[in-house]
């Protein structure tokens, strides 16, 4: 029987997902055989690119688990956190690097330990603000556009977090009733 955790992560689901992805890849052989090698090359390139980020995420996971107690986390980003929680969510989202899926293990850990849904969502939204690529955004669109876009995104990450929390809680209540 499959084991289901609180977040719905089925033990076998992970394997099935990878199997489904591999099956889709193998199907390209029938529809587009000349694309098989470019896809594999792109895949290997991506793995090499995310490896350093993986190590950074691992280090963060160890540090946070070691340094941040449940009480501290709940105080900073749990139900009791106010502006402090928003600030931490926005800043950490902006400074986090790499693809989002590399951060999922850490986020799941924080979610299990009581981080509020709104802050989790706001963190993820602010990951869209890539300061390390801002110079290229300026190059293509100019200073004014870049400053306005990044500020608007940071500001609107707050209502986005609130909406996510509202709908997550609403659908939880509907499911429970």
């Amino acid at each position: 029987m499959e084991k289901k955790t609180r977040s719905g992560l089925k033990k076998n689901g992970r394997g099935y997902f990878l199997l489904a992805s591999i099956t889709l890849y193998l199907l390209t052989f029938f529809f587009s055989p000349d694309r098989m090698m470019p896809i594999l090359e792109s895949y290997l390139k991506l793995i090499l690119q995310i490896l350093p980020i993986f190590i950074i995420v691992y280090a963060f996971m160890v540090l946070i688990d070691y340094l941040v107690t449940e009480d501290l986390l709940k105080h900073m980003m749990g139900k009791e956190a106010g502006i402090r929680g928003w600030f931490i969510a926005i800043v950490t989202g902006i400074i986090s690097v790499g693809p989002v899926y590399v951060w999922y293990p850490l986020l799941r850990n924080l979610q299990k330990r009581g981080i509020r849904v709104r802050f989790l969502s706001t963190f993820l939204y602010n990951r869209g603000i890539k300061l390390q690529w801002a110079s290229l955004l300026i190059l293509y669109f100019g200073w004014t556009y870049t400053l306005v876009l990044l500020t608007v995104m940071a500001v609107f990450s707050i209502p986005q977090g609130l909406i996510t929390e509202r709908f997550t809680m609403l659908s939880k209540k509907k499911g429970a009733s």
């Binding site: 992560l9 799941r108 306005v148 996510t164």
Partner: protein, 146 residues
Amino acid sequence: MLSRYVDYTRLKEANRKALKGLWNMLPLLLGVLLLVSMMTVLVPRSAYGILFNGNLLWDSIMGSLLGSILTGNPVTSYIIGAGFLDNGISIIAVTSFIAAWTTVGFVQLPVESMVLGKRFALARNVSAFLMSIIVGMVTALIIGVL
């Protein structure tokens, strides 16, 4: 001397938890990377432009939709967005596209659902999708005023 300041038992436990978490995620990560690679190679860039028809609202929604489906380095969205702008597509649509590229992830949605919960993943991605259209409109409005 370090043992005075470092709780090695706790550090060992934190290390074990982190490695276990990452190991459990590995099949999902490898799967999503494969999907991303397939999207990048199989969908030609020349196909993107045909979605836009000049209607502001339609183009904003299409920009957001395209940005939500496509994935990869955000710099790619800047290059494609600049190309759209040169081809006469509105700044609202281009901004929605860029905002959605980095904040919405339909390719990652199955993995996000498995890891963070279906309700959360759906609510977050849908709200981020709608927000990218609003961000596009507000950004264009402010730029227009400045």
